[in-house]
């Protein structure tokens, strides 16, 4: 538990409400220092979690986190905030299960309400073949101790009454994979909670500080150059998701990553009616209702690579059609806004974590469409790798060398929406 300058509590809320005292800043600004033990590029959930666990678990506090924009302004603030661990490969299930466990304790650990609501996660099957994959996933999950079960249409209706399971629709609901520990979270709160706790432990966070070069000498990383000056450091970690190839290129490391935008949209708020997260792979859509009552819609990545985060009419039209297939009663609901985030897609839908051919230059990238749910465990394992110099068992399968060695970890069946 970090020593926070002000603990958030009901007592504090009352005391400050009555006395009219303001709250102190949750994290500080700093001058850039010329050296650091570890430089982390990217102040999203992955970068900040890595910094936090370095300080909290390993006592490494001379850590700098750099971001060219603002904290949590990339994928961490643009995802649809779904947390789950019902993956397909044993590597994937073990890894994301650890992440769910960390998320469960996160609000208490960081003294920050991250609003994790484990309301259940339901993936619909519209055909026998998808039901077969779900049975497979459920069995892999259960072997690893993850709560995951295949439901018949009657059970689907009992848990999620707004769905039409009559079977006379274009895409009938023939069953579902149900994952009770899954749910949604307030993604900004996770980012802010990690930042505040890391700051309290001595980590220096620099926003609006873009890395313009990575210095490498004799096959070793020696530091970074930024728009505010240079920092020399023996360890540099790339946590920049959609921009990860641009950053790795600076160190001369090529990554099997392509950047695709992924769009999402949110509707006006309505009374609570949708108790779980609903996903349909066939219809390329996932829907959840926030605590405020808005419906959050997400889809699969755009059909072509891009670094643009503009929304498209094509997307919102297609999305609306797919949502109405599932729940025609939403036809009068208005979309309030749509946005896009950048996804660093890998050939096997698994991340790339760990060492690279440049000594001291580490990557935590390839997070595609599943990065936010892995934030805590990615931070914990990357911190362990940095502190001990040994790759933790949990991420050994996600190394960069797997592409050269032909050891791909195929997660497309469970990580991609459009499979």
């Amino acid at each position: 538990m970090p020593r926070l300058r002000t603990r958030y509590s009901a007592l504090q809320l009352v005391r400050r409400g009555v006395s009219g005292t303001g709250w102190p800043r949750a994290w500080r600004s700093h001058e850039l220092t010329p050296t650091a033990d570890v430089v982390i590029i990217g102040a999203g959930v992955h970068g900040l979690a890595t910094a936090y666990y370095l300080a909290a678990n390993h006592g490494i506090t001379d850590v700098v986190v750099l971001d060219k924009g603002y904290m949590g302004g990339g994928g961490s603030g643009r995802n649809t905030a779904i947390i789950r661990s019902n993956y397909l490969t044993p590597e994937g299930v073990a890894f994301y299960d650890r992440s769910v466990k960390l998320y469960e304790g996160l609000a208490a650990e960081l003294n920050f309400n991250v609003m994790f609501s484990q309301r259940g996660h339901m993936t619909l099957a519209h055909s026998d073949s998808s039901l077969r994959t779900m049975r497979w996933r459920a069995e892999v999950n259960k072997l690893q101790g993850v709560d995951s079960e295949v439901l018949d249409p009657a059970e689907v209706k009992r848990i999620a009454p707004p769905l039409d399971v009559s079977g006379d629709r274009r895409y009938p609901i023939v069953g579902a994979l149900y994952h009770p520990p899954g749910g949604i979270i307030r993604h900004d709160a996770v980012v802010w909670g990690y930042a505040r706790a890391a700051d309290a432990l001595g980590v220096r966070i620099h926003q609006q500080t873009e890395v313009t070069g990575i210095d490498v000498a004799n096959g070793r990383v020696t530091g970074v150059t930024t728009t505010r000056g240079a920092i020399s450091a023996p360890i540099v970690v790339n946590c920049t998701a959609g921009w990860s190839t641009l950053v790795s290129d600076m160190a001369g490391v090529r990554l099997p990553v392509s950047t695709y935008p992924l769009q999402a949209a949110v509707t006006e708020p309505v009374k609570p009616f949708l108790p779980t997260v609903i996903v349909s792979g066939t219809l390329h859509v996932y829907v959840s209702q926030t605590d405020r009552g808005e419906l959050v819609f997400g889809a699969s990545v755009d059909p072509f690579t891009s670094y643009s985060t503009r929304g498209s009419l094509d997307f919102v039209e297609g999305l609306a059609g797919h949502v109405l297939q599932l729940m025609p009663q939403l036809s009068q609901l208005r979309v309030l806004r749509q946005w896009a985030g950048l996804c660093d897609m890998t050939p096997d839908f698994s991340p790339i974590m760990g060492v690279t051919p440049v000594e001291g230059f580490l990557v935590d990238v390839g997070w595609g469409t599943y990065g936010f749910k892995a934030g805590p465990v990615a931070g914990e394992t990357m911190a362990q790798l940095i502190a001990t110099g040994k790759t933790p068992e949990l991420i050994a399968g996600f190394d960069l060398a797997r592409f050269a060695d032909g050891r791909l970890v195929g997660e497309k069946g469970a990580a991609a929406v459009g499979h």
Binding site: L246, R254, P256, S258, P303, S306, D314, T346, G418
Partner: protein, 107 residues
């Protein structure tokens, strides 16, 4: 991006096309080594800027096209038929090679 200007069909909605991916060429299987082959399979430049890529006009002339596109603004400055380029381009187009790592969300 809303429109692509097909050299055969004129300006058409981008949803008629399929993005095949960054242009890259298959090394000769007879002389290649594993590193080069795996780089061909998995590695892309993924630039933030101008790039040459292959598109298929699947709901139009069904020709493979070479498109010069800016990946940040999505501006397009040139489109030509893949068959008008070098013979290597034609081989590439016939191979119909698909970029790994893309979801088949256009299907």
């Amino acid at each position: 991006m809303i429109e692509l200007h097909c050299p055969h069909c004129g300006p058409r909605n981008v949803s008629e096309f399929r993005h095949v991916g960054e242009r890259h060429f298959r090394p000769d299987p007879g002389t290649t080594d594993p590193d080069e082959w795996r780089a061909y399979l998995y590695l892309r430049d993924n630039p933030a800027g101008w790039t040459d890529e292959t598109w298929l006009h699947r709901a139009g002339c069904r020709r493979y096209l070479v498109v010069e596109r800016h990946t940040v603004t999505n501006a397009v400055r040139a489109v030509r038929d893949a068959g008008d380029a070098s013979s290597a381009d034609v081989t590439h187009a016939r191979a119909g090679d698909v970029q790994p790592g893309t979801t088949d969300s256009s299907a």
